[in-house]
Symmetry: C2
Subunit: 339 residues, 2 copies
Amino acid sequence: MASLKDIAKRAELSINTVSRALRGSGYVSEDARGKVMRIAAELGYRPNRAARSLRFSKNYEIAVISFIGENRSSGDQLMMEKFVGIKRRLSASGYEMHLHFLDIDNACEPANLKLLEDISGQNPAGIIIIGDGELYESIYRLMEAKQTPAVLISYDVIPEMDCVYIDRLQGVQDAVHYLAEKGRRKIAFAGFSGICCNRIRGYRKAIKELKLQEIIFRERSYLGSDLERIFDLAVAMSKNIAGTKIRPDAVIAYSDYLAAGLVAGFRECGVKVPEEIAVIGFDNRELAAFTSPGLTTIAQPNFKAGELAAEMLLNKIIKSSEQANAVGVTMNLKIRSST
Amino acid sequence: MASLKDIAKRAELSINTVSRALRGSGYVSEDARGKVMRIAAELGYRPNRAARSLRFSKNYEIAVISFIGENRSSGDQLMMEKFVGIKRRLSASGYEMHLHFLDIDNACEPANLKLLEDISGQNPAGIIIIGDGELYESIYRLMEAKQTPAVLISYDVIPEMDCVYIDRLQGVQDAVHYLAEKGRRKIAFAGFSGICCNRIRGYRKAIKELKLQEIIFRERSYLGSDLERIFDLAVAMSKNIAGTKIRPDAVIAYSDYLAAGLVAGFRECGVKVPEEIAVIGFDNRELAAFTSPGLTTIAQPNFKAGELAAEMLLNKIIKSSEQANAVGVTMNLKIRSST
DNA sequence: CTGTTAGCGCCTTCAA
DNA sequence: TTGAAGGCGCTAACAG
């Protein structure tokens, strides 16, 4: 790897002059500058990251921490899109992205604690934490306590923390309005107990605005990563819904997984989707394109969320702002044939 | 961040002694060692990566390059599992993973060329290239030419290159044998023209071994990322298959996407899965758990492939071996209800 | 057993 | 306009 020294030797100039020429700072004669530029290009000069980091006792690495393990968990597909968004924005400003995977199933295990130590031990310029809940907030506090600027990607405003949140409330709210415009009047929400607060809030808000009747179906929550199990739960739920005295004419499901199971279940018991009941999913996962009928779903703008989080973090690194920001990104309805 | 200097000051020793104590190399009195260790722990000392990199003019970063863009492409879900495998193995040896995304739709665009320059400009200790085909092989050659050890994760042995390959041939071969054991005799393969060579080879091999009749359905290849389009193609294909004079009693599909469409299509035209026709998919994507019936599929051991690739690369970095290695990882049948 | 010296590549400060 | 010196944190070689 060519260094300033190599260029200096060839150009018969001091290292320093070369450095100044390359950075375009300070006085350099046109002559010298031209020579330096030419030789640098010839040699394919690239500044040495390690040296720069050392010199400024700061590095250009942004840690990104996300909850995903080796066993396929529900996060991966959506996570990846966030990574790509983050990466793009960081690259544009000369920062690197360092990915870290937190084993969510064993959040308090030594391995995870070690992970956090590793991360802060590397002294990243900043950290982006992807996830919602106490665990992630505690990581945020931990990093900030060590002077490492942090940003959360979450699903709701987190008081006193910088975050980009994907606005699930608005997403569900829009979905309800969309269904109402399509003439649906008995719009239900199907979810799990305890884990879909902001979705439910959006649902309630819209139902109230429209002066409709609230219809909520809840299954005992299942948080594992066994997809077949979720499917079976959903199919069972569809029988419940189909058998209700006043059957809803639309259901917004907690997730695409659940929605896919509902669609399959309704088919099994002869309830026509979308004619008799419309189904809307959540997240726009791949599988939403493979149900029949195709699943209308509330899509996460993951790429954008990633970009915004990176943007916010870079700002925070440059000028440490005083007060916490929360930026919402809106979810968009991806319309297919289930509505 | 505490440095050796800080520890030295507190311990009233020279920086060097501290360094030796911490690394456990060279002579240090028990007394000194104890003191150093204690203070280091107190201060939460972590060696500075940048300084180490600079000192050894070598870094501990492994670049990982994968074909994925901001628009959801078919790779993400499987890719993520590979990343996790790579990451785990590298962490265990003190290496970092640096992810890079190659925009496959614009392989020759300046942005991609810049990406390659960036990567080699950072002088990674090694590189893992995930992908199959000329593009990836050229990246391999490029990096090796710059003395950067490279390893490919591919789907076949690549002559004269180090690679971990996911053995699609074996995967399909096993699937055919499995179907035969279940009593199926008219086993077909459904794919796209030109892009499923090693799968087809596996199919042919097994069919020959079993002395069965080869039945291949091919659609004009569609390589885009529009999932609805793939689904429609697959549904159309299922009508073809269902309408054949001698209808097969089993189909192995090129992908889970295709298989999911086939299952839906067969249902539409009243052909019972698995009773009248068994369907096997490829990759074990999430959606395979959400078809009805659930899709039996040939699963990629992505995590393992990632781990092995990292392992191979680390070996290559330490002792640059003379001759190219190819390690195959076997695919496993994930059995659900479609067979 | 311990300390000193030098240098990895870069940049800032100061002197020429 | 240019060059020399010093130091970021670390380690290897050498001297005490």
